[in-house]
Every structure is written in C-alpha cells, then in structure tokens.
C-alpha cells in the first residue's frame, strides 16, 4: 500500500495544485480558506512560482486572467462573498475562452453569512454566476484525497476545453485532516507545450489577441453558438459521479461533497436494517451527471436529495428525473450539517409511506 500523509484538506489542495503544475496564485484572505493562501505563499516561494496577496478578489481573478492568457497554470481560492466579487472576471475569462482554476471553500450565506461549511453557492457555480451565456466546469471533492487530486483534473479539463474550472469545497473539507496518498507524477509547467492563443510577445509569428467581445452584428451570436457546442461536448463527455450500493437500491440518496460523506452513513444504517438504499454522489456538478440519474429514475421510485442549501441541486435532479420518480429533500442552509441518523430516518419515512 502506498504511503499516506496526514494533511488538512486546504493543504492537500495546495499540494495538489503545485503537483499539477500550478505556478501562479493570486488571492485575498477570507475564512474558511485562509490556509490555502498562507500555505501557498510558502510553497510558491519554494517551487519558484508566483504568489500575490491582492487588494481584492476583483484584482485576484483579473490577475489570473492575465497570467493564464500568458500561459500559466493559474489559480485563486476564496470563499462565498469573495467568489461573488470574482464573477465579473469569471464572465470575461469564460468569454475569452481562458482556462483558470477557482477554488470556492463555501461558507453560509447570503451576505456575510457565517464561516460554517455550506453548499449554498451551487446555483452561482453551475448556472454561471456572472453575466452572459457561459458555464464553468465544477468539481465537488468530498475528502482530503480529492482535494489533492482535483486541481490536476480541473486544470486538465479547463485546458482541454479552454474554459474556467471551479472546485467547490466547504469549510469542513478544508479544515479536516485525513490521510492523503500523493499519486502520479508531478507536472513540470515548463514541459507544457505553448498553445496557439498564449500571449508571449509576437516574435516570429502573427500577433495574437485575447478578447471576449464582438460588436459586429450576428458575430457574437456565432461565437456564442460555437461555445454552446463546446458546452454540449462537455455535457456529453465529462459527467462524473460515484455510486455506492445503487444496483438494487429502492431509495437513492443524491448528495455531493460533505453532504455525501454524511449521506453515506445514513445509507449504511439503512442497509444494516435491510432497507435497500444507495448513494449517488455527483463529482462534476457541471456537467451534472443527469444521464445516470435519468437511467436510474426508470427503475427507482424514490430519490432523496441532501444538500447544505435550501434546495439548489434538487432542481438538476428534478430535471434529470423528468417526473419519473418521487423526489424528497433534506436541506441545511446557513452552515448546518445533516446527520447520518437524520438521513436514515428520512429513508425509513419514505419507504413506510410507500
């Protein structure tokens, strides 16, 4: 068995990003993700990367815009109110087809809210939080191990599709310690081949322009339809999820991130009582794993959606189910956590009403 190191989720994410070849970080402090910039400031110094503590989240996201357009694997991290400030820049980055990584360690909202773990930025993440028609790829880790692994996946997907990618974590995932296995080979960013859109100075070639606008009549529409095709490709090819005991399940719990960790306990308790419960954990929130849920809804009568929000992901489950099954809900908005027994009790209730 490979050696494992005990790490904070936030530290694992930093190591994962650097392992993935990230050498540019710009960000502004906000709880509960401060361990990321703090640790990043040390590690970037060690690996010869750039660390910038910015004057605002607006500056941070726009520094990413510049760094990534110039060819860096660039990331920022923040928490909910800070991510709101970044939406302007994200819209431009998406409009200019530039790959960047944004990590949101979500806290309770709206407004200042609180610093407890929450999932209430789901809509903002998967429906495009800024102006205009665009999507960001959204990955939802549920362990320190995935906090380590997902930056690499995020950069790969972002660059494959030239699209911003988000990692949606929360304060619990960031602050808890777990064993992490350092997997794969580290990426040397110098080994990444120059792309034909990088801004490097036009020596020996035609000049390049990165822009998100086209004022000519009809041209922006063409551009946006091309981007729509890209989104269809992502929707078709990149849906990711984890299945736990769903083959014979009569109730399927749908939950991601921290909620999924808790839901697993609820499912296990139900199974111990002989109730056929299963868990489907979306790993990509956009593209949402609608195909598997649609398939399952043909044979499963009840879905239970568990979120640390007022009911946001439930809309995507409902769309995937298309009225073919009943949908139930447990929600904990504002930094509250669901519990295993709570989910177990709800499963019992659902089955007893059958």
């Amino acid at each position: 068995m490979a050696e494992k190191t005990l790490m904070y989720g936030n530290h694992a994410l930093v190591e994962g990003a650097i392992y993935a070849g990230c050498r540019f970080f710009a960000g502004y402090p906000i709880t509960p993700q401060n361990e990321i910039p703090e640790y990043m400031s040390i590690r970037m110094n060690e690996v010869g990367g750039v660390f910038l503590q910015t004057e605002s989240e607006l500056a941070a996201i726009n520094m990413l815009f510049g760094a990534a357009a110039a060819g860096a694997r660039a990331m920022t991290s923040s928490s909910s109110p800070g991510i709101s400030l970044m939406q302007e820049g994200l819209s431009y980055i998406a409009g200019a087809d530039i790959p960047v990584l944004v990590v949101n360690v979500v806290r309770g909202g709206p407004g200042l809210g609180n610093i407890a773990p929450a999932q209430s930025d789901y809509f903002q993440s998967v429906k495009s939080g800024g102006h205009g028609d665009y999507h960001t790829i959204v990955l939802a880790p549920n362990s320190a191990q995935e906090m380590f692994e997902f930056p690499r996946l995020a950069f790969e997907l972002a660059e494959k599709y030239r699209n911003p990618a988000l990692i949606l974590a929360d304060g619990l995932l960031g602050q808890m310690m777990e064993p992490v296995e350092i997997k794969g080979e580290p990426i040397d960013p110098k080994s990444l081949p120059e792309q034909d859109w990088w801004l490097t100075g036009c020596k020996g070639r035609e000049r390049r322009v990165v822009r998100s606008y086209d004022l000519r009549p009809g041209k922006l529409e063409e551009w946006n339809w091309r981007r729509w095709k890209k989104y269809q490709e992502i929707l078709n090819n990149e849906q990711r999820w984890e299945e736990i005991k769903i083959d014979d399940a009569e109730v399927i719990v749908v939950a991601y991130g921290t909620s999924a960790r808790v839901a697993e306990a609820g499912v296990r308790m139900a199974r111990e009582k002989g109730i056929k419960a299963g868990l489907l954990r979306p790993i990509t929130l956009w593209p949402f794993p609608a195909k598997i849920i649609s398939e399952l809804s043909k044979k499963v009568e009840d879905f239970l959606v568990v979120e640390m929000s007022l009911g946001q992901m439930i809309e995507d489950v409902r769309l995937a189910v298309e009225g073919k099954a009943r949908i139930h809900f447990i929600g904990h908005p504002g930094g509250g956590l669901p519990t295993g027994p709570e989910i177990y009790n709800k499963i019992i209730e659902i089955r007893s009403k059958k």
């Binding site: 540019f24 710009a26 750039v50 910038l52 910015t54 004057e55 605002s56 607006l58 500056a59 941070a60 726009n62 520094m63 990413l64 815009f65 510049g66 760094a67 990534a68 357009a69 110039a70 060819g71 860096a72 660039a74 302007e88 820049g89 431009y92 200019a96 801004l199 490097t200 100075g201 036009c202 020596k203 020996g204 000049r207 390049r208 322009v209 990165v210 822009r211 998100s212 606008y213």
Partner: protein
C-alpha cells in the same frame, strides 16, 4: 520614391474609428512608433481598456488582451509576473483608471509593479456619451452635470499623478498633453522613458496624457486644443511628478 512618412509598423492597417480631433490617434501613433523604434514590438503585450479605445486591441500591432473595466493593472500584473521578459502596457481612460479601477491602479503603483500605464485623461466619459468623469473639472458641463460640475453635490476631480505621488511605490509619474506639436514630442519622450524603465526592471510608470475629446466636450477640434492649454492644464499641471532615476542615491 522614398517614403518620408507612413503608418508605423507598430500599428495595424485597420482604420481607427476615433472622432475628428480626438487625441487617441496621436497617442496610438506614438506608441506604435515606439514599439518599432525601441525594438519591443515582438515582446510587447498590450492591454486594451473599456471605453472608446476598447478597439486598441485591433490597432496595436503586438499581442493584445481586452479586459474588464478598470482591471487592466491587475491583468497586467498577471501577465508581467508570468512573462517578466515581455513589455506590458495598459492603455486606459479616466473612467476606467480613476473611477472603477482606482483600487487596481493604486495597488499596482504601490507594488511598484514593473508595468507601464498610459492614462488618457480627457475629463469626460467618451464612449458612453459624455457623462461626468472623475476628472471632469469643476463647473465643466457633461450629460450628467448639465449646469456644470457642482463640487458640493458631485465632489472634486481626482488628480491621478498627485494622488499616486503620495505613494512610495511608483518609479515614474509624468503628466503630458497632446494639444501642440511641442507637447506631443514631450509625450513621446515620456512614454519612451517609461518603456525604457520597464526594460531596466525599474518598476511602475504612469504617463497621464491630457487629451482632446471635441465630441464629448461639444466644441471644435481647434477649440478643444485651446481648452487644454487654457483651462485643463491649469487644473492638471504638466510635468514630471516622480522619477526615482533622478533621486539622489
């Protein structure tokens, strides 16, 4: 036949869309000439703003990026830190730089970020139709101050060079104008100095250019030039505010 005067290779062949008498064309030409004369065109990355000069990404014959309103100094920081060997410049108007982008401007200056900012001050919002700018003079009319800027209700203009000169960070700050041939030559010299300091890794330069907007001001191009000399340059005095290369070591 010998060509005596033509379009510099630092500008593309695309026809510029600026109004007659506008100062952008002059400043564009200066930058286009310097990109060639200083042999930096092939390592330059320019940052186009929001406003009339948004199309600067079409006009400068070098790598270009168009960015959100006011955020050019942040984007420039990201580019420069990633490609320290490139010459990175932003081209920004007064609304862009002194209103929505005040924070980005001040902090890039405070970091002494090794970039060059060309700041076009025409005391008005051009593209959106002549509204009050942070640089609109007291008493000056705009479409949102039709009786003239009332400093009691609308506050005072921001003098960007003076403001940044209060910081320790910036390396070079100069205010110039493009109203006369003599001032145009001075403008070119200032921008050249700024690029030179960037090549020498000295740090942050901002060149504020007082520039005509006859359309926004509702005057003829000739009247616009006169207004710069007689009114605008009195409120915004020309000259070098900071040049750390000249400071006593």
């Amino acid at each position: 036949m010998k060509l005596l005067f033509g379009r510099p290779a630092g500008l593309t062949e695309i026809k510029q869309r600026y109004c007659p008498g506008c100062g952008h064309g002059i400043v564009h030409r200066i930058i286009g000439e310097l990109l060639v004369e200083m042999n930096i065109r092939e390592k330059a990355i320019g940052i186009a703003p929001v406003g009339c000069s948004v199309f600067a990404d079409e006009y400068f014959n070098c790598d270009m990026i168009q960015v959100p309103h006011g955020r050019a100094p942040a984007v420039a920081t990201g580019i420069k830190r990633t490609r320290p060997d490139c010459v990175v410049f932003t081209y920004q108007g007064d609304g862009d730089l002194a209103a929505i982008g005040t924070a980005e401007t001040i902090h890039a200056a405070a970091r002494n970020e090794n970039i060059t900012i060309i700041f076009i001050n025409n005391a008005i919002y051009g593209m959106t139709g002549g509204q009050l700018a942070p640089t609109t003079l007291p008493g000056m009319r705009s479409t949102t101050s039709v009786k003239g800027r009332d400093v009691v209700k609308q506050g005072y203009p921001i003098k960007v060079c003076e403001l940044l000169n209060a910081l320790d960070g910036p390396f070079y700050l100069e205010r110039v104008a493009v109203d006369t041939p003599k001032n145009i030559i001075k403008t070119k010299k200032a921008i050249k100095t700024a690029f030179q300091y960037q090549l020498e890794n000295k740090g942050f330069s901002l060149i504020e250019v007082l520039s005509m907007c006859p359309t926004g001001w509702g005057v003829t191009p000739i009247q616009a030039k006169k207004w710069i000399a007689e009114v605008m340059a009195k409120y915004y005095p020309l000259g070098e505010f900071r040049n750390r290369a000249k400071e006593v070591k």
